[in-house]
Symmetry: C2
Subunit: 349 residues, 2 copies
């Protein structure tokens, strides 16, 4: 009777299980945590009680006493961009394997939301944070967090912050160099204008590929999103940037997009104007999301090991958790590779 009342009321606790199994609560706790020093017989007894009562351990209480919630916070800026969901899948695969769970939030590129979500995570005592898409704006925030719990950033440029990076500069160089080798000289770059490492590096690659081939750079071919379009998702941003480009610089023969989501937007804009890809305009993306090989024509792009980036990020934060304050700062650099498909071709004279 008491048990029934309990199950409808405040929830089954370790005490209920202990009473039912005729043992102490410490024994129940030991069984649940797979602790060795419990006899087979008592273990069975306890497990039976646990099942019969449908006992659900209270992670709040456990987290409180263990000083660890077994949770990692994920701060992401745009869930509608497959880049993030792919990397997140990699993170999840490692976390769940190690008994951790993820606390995911989408900041929609809003700094205010970023602060709010991170505060929430700190209050919930996440054991660590993986943050995406940080830029110089975030430096104080990041440092504040770093003093409290481990933090790992994906594609960032902070002193003293561990991060997972890719060879963005090389990737961008190869993409633009490839376009130039195809005969293109007027190549636009559709890119965000914030001070993120990946942005800087891809810009660097864009510039050095021009330089290496003796092609002058026309700064007006570098298109940034308007404030308005950047608040929406990347594809819409790409669509707007491409339209701006086509209006102002019809002479351009190739587009290098900061990422595939933007490239897809550029393709849509080209389609709409009847510009044939790759006959009238070449387009190259970055990331190699699934969509890239699905659109018509299939997109030439710089592949990043998305899932692997996530796995590495998760492994890194777990490592920092293990090592504590002694852990040294680490930057993991993963390779990119040019994937040539149908959205690029030799420029006709």
């Amino acid at each position: 009777v008491i048990l029934i009342a309990n199950s409808l009321g405040k929830g089954i606790t370790i005490y209920d299980v202990a009473k039912k199994a005729n043992v102490s609560i410490s024994t129940v706790s030991r069984v649940f945590n797979g602790n060795a020093s419990v006899s087979k017989k008592t273990r069975k007894k306890v497990q039976k009680a646990i099942e019969e009562l449908n006992y659900i351990p209270n992670a709040l209480a456990r987290g409180l006493v263990c000083q660890s919630s077994k949770t990692i916070g994920l701060v992401v800026s745009d869930l509608s961009n497959p880049f993030f969901t792919n990397v997140i899948d990699g993170i999840e695969s490692i976390l769940s394997e190690k008994g951790f769970s993820a606390l995911l939030c989408d900041t929609h590129y809003s700094f205010e939301k970023e602060i709010r979500y991170i505060s929430q995570m700190l209050e919930k005592r996440v054991d660590g944070i993986i943050i995406f898409d940080t830029n110089s704006r975030d430096v104080d925030l990041i440092n504040r967090v770093k003093n409290i719990i481990p933090i790992v950033s994906v594609q960032s440029n902070f002193k003293g912050v561990d991060s997972i990076n890719t060879t963005d500069d090389i990737g961008a160089y190869e993409a633009v160099d490839y376009l130039i080798k195809l005969g293109h000289k007027k190549i636009a770059f559709l890119v965000y204008d914030n001070a993120r490492l990946a942005v800087m590096n891809r810009l660097k690659g864009y510039v050095s590929a021009h330089r290496a081939n003796g092609i002058p750079i026309n700064r007006s071919y570098i298109i940034n999103p308007t404030d308005d379009s950047s608040s929406k998702n990347a594809t819409i941003g790409g669509y707007c940037m491409a339209n701006e480009l086509f209006d102002r610089h019809p002479e351009v023969t190739a587009i290098f997009a900061y990422n595939d989501a933007i490239a897809v937007g550029a393709c849509l804009a080209a389609n709409e104007r009847g510009l044939k890809i790759p006959d009238d305009i070449n387009i190259v993306g970055f990331d190699d999301i699934e969509m890239a090989s699905l659109i018509n024509p299939k997109l030439t792009t710089v592949a990043q090991p998305l899932f692997d980036m996530g796995k590495n990020a998760a492994e890194l934060i777990l490592k920092k958790l293990r090592e504590g304050k002694e852990s040294t700062t680490q930057i993991i650099l993963l390779p990119t590779s040019l994937v040539i498909r149908e959205s690029t071709k030799q420029l006709q004279a």
Copy 2:
């Protein structure tokens, strides 16, 4: 000295703040919770101490004693489908307004993951769960959860479970009726084959529109995903289903897709084969995601109030939380509306 040691070590607690401000811990707690019965002077003192110490309240401890984590679990099946992210945005908007936060997980349509994530949420003592895309497979799981915490489903058909639905049947009817009025008689339906309410209802609309217009239904025009393609995202699924359709039934002149993500996939498949939309094939989607008005040609679709569905779901779960066991089951029905764009046109004789 003690305070410094504390701030580097185990974290600042309410005791540290109390000591620094020369008050008791209850007073600190009162200040933090905006409790009225604190004098202006002490409040100031405490707030100063809180700021100076960088105190971060411990949500674990608070949740433990309050028996509420102020968190709602969101169980979603495919974050890469904008349908979900749009609805989630609506949910978030209400939750954050009411001081709640969301615990988000992506099951990738895997039942095993669904069980695991829900168990985690239960352990973390979320106050309620909003679940998407449930089907008959889930009935036991849902009922088990329902006995523990409030649950609200988006587009579902469970007895005794509150849910947010839309007029799927009417929406589907209007879409197909519109196609028929344009002269189409051979209309395919690309749709999932699981037993979800939305699937059933859109199927019902598809059927009754045929019947109302005296058009016989060809069952082989109803295409389901293969096991293989359904594990991937909806767009890829749509791409595959459309290819299967074009191979087997080139006589079809119009496609009604279960959702826009699938419709986009169908457009890609059509493009690839050189089938012109809407000249060679008409396509209608469902949802009205941003992409729908961005692709070329712009997609005719049945709009759902995505953001609003989320807001309603959040408000409903919060209401159930307030009302407790006395709360009666509620089903909220939101309207759909046909949005005519460029992917449909009068069939040429």
